[in-house]
Every structure is written in structure tokens, then in C-alpha cells.
């Protein structure tokens, strides 16, 4: 409130402390640590709601439709062309050595182990983590989350858990669709570009895969799903600054989820290769 002659005298003089580089860095570090703590607490509360009743089955189904079925078009389209591009890029190199028939093997392994899960995770992050953050952020700034709490509903159980469960259930399925569409696109590219037999392509692609590849390729989506859903929910539920804050939270959710998925992918790949070596 601006000071005017009508203001009562004696109001505290609030002088701001001087800004220093060290101060800014310390505050940024404190903020990051606090964020990690709050995120960890949200994840902990989410775990509890995943295994204790009540469960909001209707909300889970709605979110599965929104996250799963809603992401299908982009997954199918992207998967198809990713597979096609992979064949075009790798096929040209194998052709130089007269081994174009290996194209199917390489594309299948790369898709199932790595590109399928990571690209699906990144595509769904861009579509859904942002949507989750903006939806929950909008609810927060319009006091709908407070209204929910005022009426005796736990927002983590009602808003976060259905989204996390829905993503955990649908992302592996979407990954499978990406893998299939990628192989389909690769097959089409092989037939028309490399003049390979479609049957030969599919046979080699399926034969190249072993159980370790499938384990790696279908374990990663669970971790990616948890990351993108919880990050989206966390950013949405911690919005500050009104509608501008909602926009900021949406962007941060996309960036943070994407980076964490890529980082997690590196660690998961290392662990998966180690376990494959030991167990299979």
C-alpha cells in the first residue's frame, strides 16, 4: 500500500538488505534444496495414497483416457516416422558394407531398448506433464485446491494419485505402440528405400530381440511415467504468482521432466546392461 499523508505515522521502515552475488547463489541453493525436499514429500505422500484407500477409480479412468488415449495420435505418428528415419539413416551405412539386411536387427534393438521408451517419455512429457501442471496450477490460483481441502478431500489423493496411476499404466502401453509403429515405419522404409523384403525385415527384427531387451525397454517407462506425472503435479501444486506463475510452472514442468527422464535413462541403461550381463 502506497504511503500517503493520511497514513498513520510510526509504520516500520522496511529497508531491503543489499543484494550480493553470494547472497543470490545461497538463496538459489536453499530454494533448490527446499524444492527437492518438497518434491520428495509429495512423492512420499503419493506412494501412501497409491496403496491405501480410498481410490478415485473414476478419476483414474478419466486420466487414462486423457493421458493414454489422448497421446495415441502423436505416439503413432511419431513412432512411424522415427522408425522410418532410423532405417534410412542406418540402412545407407549398412549398404556400403553389403549388410543392409542387418538394418532390421539394429532398428529393433535401438527402438525397443532405447528410442521407444525415451522418445515416448519425452513426447508424453511435452503433451501431458505440461497439461497436468497447467491444470493443477490453474486450480491452485483459483482456490479450487483450497476448496477441495476445505471440503475434506486430500488433493494428493484426488488430483495427484489418479494422474500418477494413469501414467504408470498407460506409458508402457504407449511405449509398446511406439515400438510397433517404429518397426512398421522401418519396414515401409526398408521395402521402398532399401528394397528389402518385408518378411525378411520383420523376421530379423523379432529374432534380434531377446528377453533382456524387452525387460530394459519395458521397465524404463515405469520410471519415466512416475517422473513426468509427479513433476507435472508438483509444479502445478506449487505455482506462485497467479496466471503468469501457471505459465512458468508449465514450462518448468516440461523442461525438468525432460531432463530428468534423460538423466534417469542413462542410469537405468547402465543398471539394465549390468543386470542383463549377470542374469541373462
Amino acid at each position: 500500500m502506497a504511503d500517503t499523508p493520511l497514513q498513520i505515522a510510526g509504520r516500520e521502515d522496511k529497508t531491503e538488505p543489499p543484494i550480493t552475488v553470494a547472497g543470490v547463489l545461497v538463496n538459489a541453493a536453499k530454494g533448490a534444496v527446499a524444492d527437492v525436499q518438497d518434491y520428495a514429500m509429495l512423492c512420499g505422500r503419493t506412494f501412501v495414497t497409491l496403496v491405501t484407500p480410498p481410490f478415485y477409480l473414476q478419476d483414474i479412468l478419466q486420466q487414462m483416457d486423457s493421458i493414454g488415449a489422448g497421446s495415441l495420435p502423436i505416439i503413432l505418428l511419431s513412432g512411424f516416422f522415427i522408425g522410418a528415419v532410423m532405417v534410412l539413416q542406418t540402412g545407407s551405412q549398412f549398404t556400403r558394407f553389403g549388410q543392409s539386411s542387418l538394418t532390421g536387427d539394429v532398428v529393433a534393438i535401438a527402438l525397443v531398448r532405447e528410442l521407444g521408451p525415451s522418445l515416448t517419455g519425452l513426447l508424453v512429457t511435452g503433451r501431458c506433464a505440461t497439461g497436468i501442471a497447467s491444470e493443477l496450477g490453474s486450480m491452485l490460483v483459483t482456490e479450487q485446491v483450497d476448496a477441495m481441502r476445505a471440503m475434506g478431500t486430500d488433493p494428493v489423493r484426488k488430483l495427484v494419485a489418479p494422474r500418477v496411476i494413469a501414467t504408470l499404466l498407460t506409458l508402457p502401453l504407449l511405449t509398446a505402440m511406439t515400438d510397433f509403429m517404429g518397426l512398421l515405419g522401418g519396414c515401409v522404409a526398408s521395402v521402398f528405400s532399401l528394397r528389402l523384403s518385408a518378411i525378411e525385415f520383420w523376421r530379423r527384427a523379432i529374432d534380434a530381440l531377446d528377453f533382456a531387451d524387452l525387460m530394459q525397454g519395458f521397465t524404463k517407462p515405469f520410471f519415466f511415467a512416475f517422473i513426468l506425472a509427479t513433476i507435472g503435479c508438483y509444479k502445478g501444486l506449487t505455482v506462485r504468482g497467479g496466471t503468469q506463475g501457471v505459465g512458468r510452472a508449465t514450462t518448468q514442468a516440461a523442461v525438468l521432466s525432460s531432463v530428468l527422464i534423460i538423466v534417469a535413462d542413462a542410469f537405468l541403461t547402465k543398471v539394465a546392461l549390468f543386470l542383463a550381463d549377470k542374469l541373462f
Binding site: 500500500m1 482456490e143 471440503m151
Partner: protein, 284 residues
């Protein structure tokens, strides 16, 4: 199960004479500094306490503290005999079923129809489907918005959203209702409609209320008028300034917050007759 009273019968009073809401030396601050610095007040059963103050003096925060939506950094808050300032969130979730909260902009769930918004608490409590619709229609009839049951909040005017918000807060017939600037941003006619609803709630159902507002006329309307259930009209209240109810007198008092503390606490006559320069600015 909550909400066993039909809408046309008042909530029976408790024999316990302890205050329904009690703030003791409550302090609340954020990074920018303390907003509330040692605020203490009480609200008796069936009483309406009008919270007045400039923007940023902590009126909304006081309501949220009373509902347990925020925790004070110091002090103690007791509501219906329970210490909400130290209750765990999972216990507060159940406890808040006894409190109705009318948010400033309504805070309706915009992905749900009016009917589903009003029925929200019943749906959460797993009330039978055939019981939900009649109760929803009853409260919507109370706020005169029965015809909007299938509309979405985006299709309603501001005043209608406030009234639906009141209906949603009433569905379980809570003994306490907290109003956060229920007439803010509304035209005078719609504001009068909202105040009439609040009068009906107070005088017919005997709710205890905290009402945060910047409009002094809302507080004086509550103090000087009452809803007569016999004639179903708003009439001037008794000469002593207290609004009458079906069985007990319900008082309306004012609490003015300023710079983190209680600047004034008293009845409408004391406020109207004040010679304090700061308080007179509210009376202009």
C-alpha cells in the same frame, strides 16, 4: 452420516458455552514478514463476527487459519473445542466437514456442473445416489438457483457463482460457515441478494459465522436486519441491535484488523459511534 437435518429446521445448540471459534495470540508470517502478530478473539455460538480491514491485513488468512488450511507460526486456534492449529492434515480433512467455506471468487470446480459442485461433499461421503439429487435441489432452491443444476460454472455470472458456492458450503448443514468477501466485485443488487442469503442462514439455521469483508455496509446489514421465517422477508432487527432467531438472540460483532493486530472489537453501535479517525474512514 452428516446432513441429517432437513433444510427447514435449525441446528440445535450445544449446551457447552465455550466459544465456537477461539484465536489466542495467533501469529502468521511469510517471507515478506508477519501478517498477523498476536491476534486474539472469540466467536460464540450462532454469533457472526465481521472481519474488517484494509487489503493485506489478514482477513482471508484468519478464515483459512480457522479452517485449518494454514497453520499459525505461533498461538492457538480452537474450533468447536478442537485445536486446529496442531491437528494433522488427515484429521483436519474429516474435521472440516463441520465447516462451510465460501471462497471469494466461489472456487467452484470448473470441470464439474453446478449440481456436481454442490453434491461434491455428498459424493465424497459416498451418499446414496437417490438421496443426493433431492438434497442438491433443496440447497439450490434455498439460493434460488435450482434451474442451473446442469450448467457449468463458466456459464454463470459472478453473483450466481457466489450463490452456488454458498449452496455447496451448506450441503452438509455445517454449524460454522466462513465467508471470504462474499460480495466483493458484485453490484449492489446482487450484493443484497448474497447478504439476504447469509441472513437466512444465520437466522433460520443458526450458523456461527466469520465474515471477512471490506464493505462495512455488509456488516451493518447483518447487524441491523434479520430474516423473518414467518413472512420469509428481511425485516429490521430488534431495537437493541441484535438479530433475532427462532430460539436465541444471535449477535453481530465487528473486528477491525490493522498492522497485524486487533484494532477494534465491538458491536455495531460502538463502531457507528466511534470518534477514532482511522475507524471513521471505514464509515465514510
Amino acid at each position: 452420516m452428516a446432513g441429517t437435518h432437513p433444510m427447514n429446521s435449525p441446528i440445535t445448540s450445544s449446551p457447552d458455552s465455550s466459544p465456537t471459534i477461539k484465536f489466542e495470540s495467533v501469529r502468521l508470517g511469510f517471507d515478506e514478514g508477519d501478517i498477523l502478530r498476536g491476534v486474539s478473539f472469540q466467536v460464540q455460538e450462532r454469533e457472526t463476527l465481521v472481519l474488517l480491514g484494509e487489503t493485506g491485513t489478514g482477513k482471508t488468512l484468519s478464515l483459512k487459519l480457522a479452517a485449518g488450511l494454514l497453520k499459525p507460526s505461533e498461538g492457538n486456534i480452537r474450533v468447536l473445542g478442537r485445536d486446529v492449529s496442531s491437528m494433522a492434515e488427515r484429521d483436519l480433512l474429516a474435521f472440516r466437514r463441520q465447516i462451510g467455506f465460501v471462497f471469494q471468487e466461489g472456487a467452484l470446480f470448473d470441470s464439474m456442473t453446478v449440481g456436481d459442485n454442490v453434491a461434491y461433499r455428498l459424493l465424497e461421503d459416498k451418499v446414496m445416489d437417490d438421496e443426493i439429487e433431492p438434497r442438491v435441489l433443496e440447497v439450490l432452491r434455498f439460493v434460488e438457483l435450482e434451474h442451473t443444476i446442469d450448467l457449468f460454472p463458466a456459464e454463470l455470472s459472478g453473483g450466481m457463482r457466489r450463490r452456488v458456492s454458498i449452496a455447496r458450503a451448506l450441503i452438509n448443514q455445517p454449524p460454522i460457515v466462513l465467508y471470504d468477501s462474499p460480495t466483493a466485485g458484485l453490484d449492489p443488487v446482487t450484493s443484497q441478494t448474497i447478504i439476504t442469503l447469509i441472513l437466512r442462514l444465520r437466522d433460520v439455521f443458526g450458523v456461527t459465522a466469520l465474515l471477512a469483508t471490506q464493505r462495512l455496509q455488509d456488516g451493518f446489514a447483518l447487524a441491523n436486519f434479520r430474516f423473518d421465517p414467518a413472512t420469509k422477508r428481511v425485516v429490521h432487527s430488534t431495537p437493541n441491535g441484535k438479530a433475532g432467531t427462532a430460539g436465541r438472540m444471535a449477535a453481530t460483532r465487528f473486528l477491525v484488523l490493522r498492522e497485524g493486530g486487533v484494532y477494534f472489537e465491538g458491536g455495531p453501535e460502538e463502531l457507528a459511534d466511534t470518534q477514532d479517525d482511522y475507524l471513521k474512514r471505514f464509515l465514510v
